[in-house]
């Protein structure tokens, strides 16, 4: 029992994921700054932001709306992100093998943060937050099918194996899934799904700082906002880690850990560059992009897998 609590809270759970995600979020901001020829924030900036919100600022509750739901929603988001991260990282770091079908559980847990943002913002009673929440819902409906198809294609490619551990092992004994045409197509679709899940720029209509003044988070201040930041940091680490696990060979022990870190940094670099070179789409365009083009891409990949390519 104690060992599971250690897994959940310290390594590879909450603490480790939060620190790794915060450092990745600094990396993202620094790359953004370099792309715009700026200097960028210092290394510990995400930690300053988090502890300022958690320890210094007061929290203002909305006058109209449900206060308890408003406060519980960010905790639900952190819980979902940490739980999903745990199921991803335990097989990835070869600590526990997981169980049959855990990739489906991961898929459901990964949607929990987005749902918690929707619940929290609708509970705040702010009209801008409601607009953000409805956009987030439409975005979830758009990308979730593509993400599920990517997961299904990976399961098919690994020979109908439903757990993370065997998927990673299949790649390590054979070759990584990205080394084939269908793997590349799945990687492209997966990167766009992650972009939408993290609500980074081409798909950031729920926050839309310039039109909705950070939309779904508009009413949050102080410690609840710190929890949202925490959930976002964790998601920023575990989603690239998930993609690396299911398509890019996972992690080998020993010196290969550096190779694993480089793969994560590479995926995040790709996300950041997409974010910095694109304008925000309209919600209709995003739906069309996922429901038509990305689904088509994954279906083509699945057909290729069926032919063994």
């Amino acid at each position: 029992m104690a060992v599971y609590l250690f897994y959940f809270l310290i390594f590879p759970g909450l603490l480790f994921m939060a620190v790794a995600g915060a450092l990745l979020s600094w990396y993202d901001r620094k790359i953004t700054a370099r792309v715009q020829f700026r200097k960028g924030p210092p290394l510990l900036q995400p930690f300053y932001d988090f502890f300022k919100l958690l320890l210094v600022k007061e929290s203002i509750l909305p006058k109209h709306g449900s206060r308890s739901v408003f406060l519980i929603a960010p905790l639900l988001g952190v819980f979902g992100a940490a739980m999903a991260g745990l199921f991803i990282l335990l097989p990835l770091f070869d600590i526990e093998t997981g169980f049959r079908g855990d990739i489906i559980v991961i898929f459901y847990l990964l949607t929990l943060p987005s749902f918690s943002y929707i619940i929290g913002s609708l509970a705040s009673g702010n009209p801008l937050a409601a607009v953000g929440a409805s956009r987030e819902m439409k975005l979830i409906i758009s990308y979730e099918l593509t993400f599920l198809l990517v997961v299904a294609a990976v399961i098919m490619k690994s020979g109908q194996q439903f757990d993370m551990n065997s998927i990673i092992e299949t790649q390590q004994t054979g070759r990584p899934f990205i080394g084939s045409i269908s793997g590349v197509l799945l990687f492209v679709a997966g990167v766009f799904c992650i972009q939408a899940k993290l609500a980074l720029v081409p798909f950031d209509m729920p926050e839309a700082e310039t039109e909705l003044a950070s939309g779904i988070y508009i009413e949050y201040s102080g410690p609840p906002y710190a929890m949202i930041k925490l959930a976002k940091y964790i998601m920023f680490f575990i989603l690239p880690a998930f993609l690396v696990a299911i398509l890019l060979n996972g992690m080998n022990p020993g010196i290969n850990i550096i190779w694993f870190i480089l793969k994560i940094l590479g995926v995040v670099l790709l996300l950041t560059l997409i974010r910095n070179t694109n304008p925000r789409l309209k919600i209709k365009q995003a739906s069309g992009f996922f429901l038509i083009w990305m689904n088509l891409l994954v279906v083509v990949a699945i057909v290729l897998i069926a032919f063994g390519l």
Binding site: A33, K39, Y225
Partner: protein
């Protein structure tokens, strides 16, 4: 200076309130956030919601309508919040001080932590003011 203060000073998020401004100060404030001056290296970000703000930047002459809005914003901001008055109009009223609709400089309405005078102040002056504000206490 404790850990809390240090974190607060290293991550000041700014909410920008423009009163009846002539827009020169607005342009200079935006200039601070552009790549040339880059306030993000001090951890300063421009936020869109007063709920996330640590610093309330006020510029422009505050007339009778702005007065209520400024008070409401100050009431809605999570404390602690620092208030910075930018430009001659924000600090003293400038050329509008005798005007009919003028409702007093910012410090007659809400407590002000830093004044950055100038018409408009240069971005360098704004950065100097913010750095001094971060070093306060």
């Amino acid at each position: 200076m404790g850990f809390k203060d240090y974190c607060f000073r290293k991550s000041l998020w700014v909410f920008h309130f423009g009163g009846a401004s002539c827009n020169n100060c607005d342009i200079e404030i935006l200039d601070c956030l552009t790549p040339r001056h880059d306030l993000e290296r001090f951890g300063i970000l421009l936020v869109g919601s007063i709920r996330h703000a640590d610093v309330l930047l006020v510029n422009g002459s505050i007339n009778r309508r702005d007065r209520d809005r400024l008070l409401e914003l100050y009431r809605q901001a999570p404390k602690p919040i620092l208030v910075v008055a930018i430009g001659a109009c924000g600090c003293t009223g400038g050329i509008f001080a005798e005007g009919n609709t003028f409702a007093g400089p910012v410090d007659k309405i809400i407590p002000v932590d830093a004044y950055i005078p100038g018409c408009p102040p240069k971005p360098e002056a704004i950065i100097a003011g913010i750095v001094k504000l971060a070093g306060k206490k």
